[in-house]
Symmetry: C2
Subunit: 299 residues, 2 copies
């Protein structure tokens, strides 16, 4: 049974009952499970984590739009997090028995259906992007809802699907396909924030580091510990152990040791199995050798 | 849903149709799945790997005895592998949502039922042993079927359950509970067998090494590679990375590098997650953070 993860972000994080009702409606879709719902009032935003097959998720996302558009009005929405739409972003992520192309196809099919049914303009991003300038979510979202009318009228910003102007209350939506994102932090045995910032600059893609690493240096104030806080955006191409070793080496260069690391939230099994294989120099390993996987495959 | 693994060994490895019929009968038990059947003609022995809950496995093992006793006669059995019984050994292994005590209880309950129903003497071993002298399978099996009458008559060798003399054609059976066994080999970048043997002696429990490691040095003749071939009998107490690091260090002491390692057969997910946590210095990780585990837990 193929498994796709989908993590839609909606622009409502201050009314728990409203968010719960949206999640409940989505969760009733056959073949789809809602694994997590988390809301941030300051961001005025909620993130749903769901999993299912392609057909189920497409239906679930149409339900999500129907529900969200009925309760969110961006003309009166204020929050710290940048947003373009009532349903702001919808990524599809291949997890098991499914390829990235499958997720790209699903993103396009879902985007077309959303645009047709709800008259919301849709931009395709990441692996589903039709234009390299639209791969990055930040680039598409720049200007936000308030600047959207002007942006859509400018050269190169016609949407992939739907009307050429924003939906009056729901703006536009960004739909696409990407690898699972891993939130991975490394805590340093120091209270020197400058060291964490220098390491972050060394390992992250934007300033010369590894291709699929986003990083920043932050301070865990309560513990007096400097942290390299990262998002790993493609663990297959930039594996965790390579990131860890680079951070460790850069820390050494400043006379600092690694205190510990942490995985925040969910992580695909393959990312951790790959770390074990890396360090133990395991050759020829198959994930079907994991007893639990074998049990599942046979059920 | 709790998962227990059970890996019975039967003294029949030369008649594939007979083994298949036994496995099929066992596999029809509700709540039990047969994951693997492998026979060795020279050993005249077959190993079934099955998984299920306690009630299902108890029923499956009773079926296994019924089927095996009807087709195996140890008085005419000859094979390279030492054996005491037609059903030679039955280990129960805790995998998920189940403790070692649960498996010990299951071993004793199953042992009692086998003795009562089939008049086969049963010895309890490993974690289920009632006597430290009977923890090791090798100690119980020494003398084999041919020496069993004399052994059972000697002091300290009354069985835990069943008659005081061997079953005429089925001998006796060893039933118990143990941790999952991991077959783990490390290949050295050398053709020097003596180095592999010295490393094996350094890391294995019997000659002064780590508590839950069995090891020997062997030669992979076709590749000209010396190998440290190991069984890890408790990966929680003697974790894989600690074994790997010790082998690597001992190899260095002989001027030899580690070429690669390999996991043979199945391995519990926890053993590899622990290796990732060890090297990446991950703190506070829970197996429920593995996306696939989360999906399963919710289903």
């Amino acid at each position: 049974m193929p498994i796709i993860e989908c993590i839609p972000n909606i622009s409502e994080g201050q009314r728990p009952d409203v968010v719960a009702a949206v999640a409940a409606a989505v969760g009733r879709t056959p073949g789809v499970r809602v694994l997590d719902v988390s809301s941030d009032a300051a961001h005025h935003r909620s993130v749903l984590t769901m999993a299912g097959d392609a057909a189920g998720l497409k239906t679930a996302i149409l339900t999500l739009f129907e529900q969200t558009l009925a309760v969110v009005d961006l003309t009166v929405h204020k929050g710290e997090h940048p947003r373009l739409g009532a349903v702001d972003v919808v990524p599809f992520v291949p997890i098991e028995g499914v390829t990235m192309s499958d997720c790209v196809a699903l993103a396009r099919e879902t985007g077309r259906a959303v645009a047709e049914r709800f008259a919301v303009p849709v931009y395709l991003y990441e692996e589903a992007a039709t234009d390299p300038a639209r791969r990055n979510l930040e680039d598409i979202r720049r200007g936000e809802f308030e600047g959207l009318t002007a942006k859509m009228a400018s050269v190169g910003w016609a949407p992939d699907f739907g009307p050429a102007t924003p939906h009056p209350r729901a703006g536009a939506t960004v739909i696409g396909a990407r690898m699972p994102l891993i939130a991975y932090n490394i805590n340093l045995a120091t209270d020197r924030l400058d060291v964490a910032k220098k390491i972050a600059a060394a390992v992250r893609h934007s300033t010369g580091g590894l291709r699929f690493v986003k990083a920043m240096g932050v301070m865990l104030g309560d513990r007096g510990v400097a942290q390299v806080s990262m998002n790993l955006t493609n663990f297959e191409k930039t594996p965790i152990p390579r990131v860890f070793e680079m951070v460790k080496r850069e820390a050494e260069r400043h006379g600092v040791a690694v205190l510990e690391s942490e995985i925040v939230g969910l992580i695909p099994q393959a990312a951790l199995l790959a770390a074990a294989e890396y360090y133990l120099q395991i050759e020829g390993f198959k994930s079907s050798q994991v007893l639990e996987n074998r049990l599942r495959a046979d059920s």
